[in-house]
C-alpha cells in the first residue's frame, strides 16, 4: 500500500494538497495496472471495439438517416419489400426502411439499458454500502428486501408494474431498475463487510472518522471496481429486459426501439410472410450489443476478481 515510487512534489503548497496528489497518482497507477490486465484479454478488447462502433453508430444515426424515415405517413417503400438497392434491408409493413429503423432503434435500446443500469447501480450501491456499514435492524431489513427482489421473477414484476403504471420510457426505466438493483446490493454489501474488517478502517474509526467519511473515503473506493464490473454485466440484461417488454407490447408506443420493431413484426405477420429481413436486423442488433457488453463485463470481472482470472495451476 505504501509503495508509491513517485514522491510528492517539493513545491506542494500544503501537506493536505500533497496528500491529495499522492492519492491521485496512486489511483492513476492502479488504473493503469487494471487497464493493462484488461488489455491482455482478447475477448474483452473485441467487446470494447464492438461497443465503440455501436455507440458511434447510435450517436451518428440522425446524421446518417433523417428522422423522417421513421414516419409512418412519409414512408416511401411498399409493404414488406425484400432487400433492394433503395432499401438495403427491406421495408416494414408500412414501407419504412428496416435499416433506418434499426439504426434509430439503437439509440433507445442503449439509452434505456444504460439509464436503467445507472439507476439500479446507484440504488444497489447505496443500499449495499449503508446496510453493510450501518448494520443492525436497518441492515437486516435491507438484506431481506434485496433477497426478496432477487428471488422474484423479474419479468413478472416488470409486466405487472407496467400494466398498472402505463407505458412510457420513464416507467420502463424505473421498472427495469427496480427489478435489477438487488444483485448489486448483495455484491456491494459483501464487499463492504470485507473492507470493514480490515485494520485501516479500524484505524480510521479510532482517529474519529464519522460514518459518512468512512463510507465515502474508505469503503466506496474499494467497492467501486467490482460495481463497475457488475454494472457492465447489468446493461445487457437491462437491454434484454427492455426488448422483451417492448416486444410484448409494453414499451413506449411513441418511440422506436429494437424490441418495438420486433413487436410490430410479430403483430403484422412477418413470420408467416417469411419476411426474414424484418426479423434479422433488430434481433441481431440486440444480440451483438448484449454480447459486446457481456464480453467487456466478463473481462472486467476477471481483472477485478483474480480468482476468476484462471491461471492454470
Amino acid at each position: 500500500m505504501t509503495a508509491s515510487p513517485t514522491p510528492p512534489p517539493p513545491l506542494a503548497a500544503s501537506p493536505r494538497r500533497a496528500r491529495r496528489q499522492l492519492a491521485r497518482s496512486r489511483r492513476r497507477q492502479s488504473f493503469l495496472r487494471s487497464w493493462a490486465a484488461y488489455r491482455a484479454q482478447r475477448t474483452g478488447m473485441i467487446g470494447l471495439v464492438l461497443l465503440g462502433v455501436i455507440v458511434v453508430l447510435a450517436l451518428a444515426a440522425p446524421v446518417l438517416v433523417d428522422e423522417s424515415a421513421l414516419s409512418v405517413t412519409q414512408a416511401t417503400g411498399g409493404r414488406m419489400e425484400p432487400p433492394s438497392a433503395a432499401f438495403p434491408l427491406g421495408t416494414d409493413e408500412v414501407g419504412r426502411s428496416i435499416l433506418a429503423l434499426t439504426l434509430w432503434g439503437s439509440r433507445l435500446s442503449l439509452l434505456i439499458g444504460l439509464t436503467a443500469t445507472v439507476v439500479a447501480i446507484v440504488i444497489g450501491t447505496t443500499v449495499g454500502v449503508t446496510s453493510g456499514h450501518v448494520g443492525g435492524w436497518y441492515g437486516w431489513f435491507a438484506l431481506r428486501i434485496s433477497d426478496w427482489f432477487m428471488v422474484l421473477p423479474s419479468l413478472v414484476v416488470a409486466i405487472a408494474l407496467l400494466a398498472v403504471l402505463g407505458r412510457s420510457m420513464g416507467t420502463t426505466i424505473a421498472v427495469i431498475a427496480l427489478v435489477s438493483w438487488s444483485g448489486t446490493t448483495r455484491l456491494v454489501r459483501a464487499q463492504t463487510l470485507t473492507v470493514q474488517s480490515r485494520p485501516y478502517l479500524e484505524r480510521a474509526r479510532a482517529l474519529g472518522a464519522g460514518h459518512w467519511h468512512q463510507m465515502t473515503k474508505h469503503i466506496l473506493p474499494n467497492v467501486l471496481p467490482l460495481v463497475l464490473a457488475s454494472a457492465t454485466l447489468l446493461v445487457p440484461s437491462a437491454i434484454l429486459m427492455e426488448s422483451s417488454l417492448a416486444w410484448l407490447g409494453l414499451g413506449d408506443p411513441n418511440v422506436v426501439s429494437w424490441g418495438s420493431i420486433l413487436n410490430r413484426a410479430s403483430d403484422n405477420g412477418a413470420v408467416s410472410a417469411h419476411a426474414w429481413w424484418y426479423l434479422l436486423p433488430p434481433g441481431l442488433a440486440i444480440l451483438i450489443v448484449v454480447l459486446a457488453f457481456m464480453m467487456c463485463g466478463r473481462a472486467l470481472e476477471a481483472v477485478f476478481n483474480p480468482r476468476l482470472r484462471g491461471e492454470p495451476s
Binding site: P153, G183, S244, S266
Partner: protein
Amino acid sequence: MTADGPTPAGGAPAPSAGRRPGSAARERGSSGFGRYLFKHVSGAAVSLLLVLFSSFFIFRLIAGDPIDQLTKERPVSPEERAALRAELGLDRPMWQQFWDYITGTLTMDLGDSFQYRRPIFDLIVERLPATILLSGTGMVLAVLLGFWIGTRSGWKQGSRFDRGHVATGLLLYSAPTFWLGMIVILVFARYLGLFPVNGMRSPSTPPEFWPQALDIAHHLVLPVLTYTAVVYAGYLMIMRSSILDEIGNDYLTTARAKGLRDDQVRDRHAVPNALLPTVTLVFLAIGGVVNGSIVTETVFSWPGLGSLFVQAIFYPDRPVLQALFVLFSASTILAVLAAEVLYWFIDPRIRKS
C-alpha cells in the same frame, strides 16, 4: 455471474482436534434440523406475505378502481356502477378489502376473470399442465446439458472444447428469447415445414391417447428447443465456475494418486463437490425459468399460464394478472425454500454448524 453460493469444499473450518468422537453425530440430531427448517420456513413465509402485500398494493392501490376498465365498452348508469362495486366488494373499507383478499387468496378463492367470466382457479388448473410440460422438459434438458458441458469445460479450462462451448453458450445467452423463437419458427416451421407453427395440438388429431401424445410431442419440440437454447448457458457457466473452484484442491490429487482415470477423478470426486454449491444457484435461477416460459409460451402460443398472463395485460384482466403475479412469485420463493431444505440432506458439512 457472481456465485454467492455457500463455501466450497475445504472452506469449512476444521473442527477442533480435541473433540470427543460421537459429539458430531449428536449435533446432527433433530433439533439442528428443526432450527434450520424453522429459520428458512419463517423467512419464506415473510417473503410470501410480502408478495401478497405488494400485489394488493400494485393492483388495488396504484391501479385504482377497476370499474372503469370493466365497463369500458358500454355506457353505464351510476346505479349500475354502484351495484357492480358492491358485487365486487369495492365499496367496503380498504382494510377490509385487504383482509378479504388475503383470506381469499389463502383459501384458493382467487375471484373471477374479467375476460373469461370464470373462476381464475379453474383457469389456472386448466393451464398449469401445459406450462409444467414445457418448462419442466426445457429445464431438465437445460440443466443436464449445461452441467454436462460445464463440467467438461471447467475441467479442461482453456481447451478448444472449453472455448468453443463458452462462446456458443454466451452467443445463445445473448439472444433475446422471443427473437430466437421467431427465427426458429421461421426456419423449422415455415421454411422447412418440419414442425407445427404454434399451439399445443392440432384439431385434426384423433382423440386416442397415442396420437394425442405424439401430436403434443411434435408441438413441443420447437418451444423446448428455444427455451433450452436460451437457458442452458446459465447452467453451463454456473457449473464451469464451480468446477474451476475445485480444481487444484488436494483431494483431487489424492484421487489421482489412488490410480483413478482422469474422468473418474472428475466424475467421482470433483463433480459431487462442485454440484453442492450449484444446487442453490439452480433453484435461485428459477425466476429466470419463469421469465423464459412466459416469453416462450407467448411466441409459440402455448396454452399455458405464461401466455394467459400476457393475454391478461391487454384485456386488461386485472384479477388474472394479480393471481398469476402471486402464483409466479410464490412458486419461486417455494422453489428456493425447497433448495435450502434439500441442501441440508445433500451437504454433510452444513449440518455441523
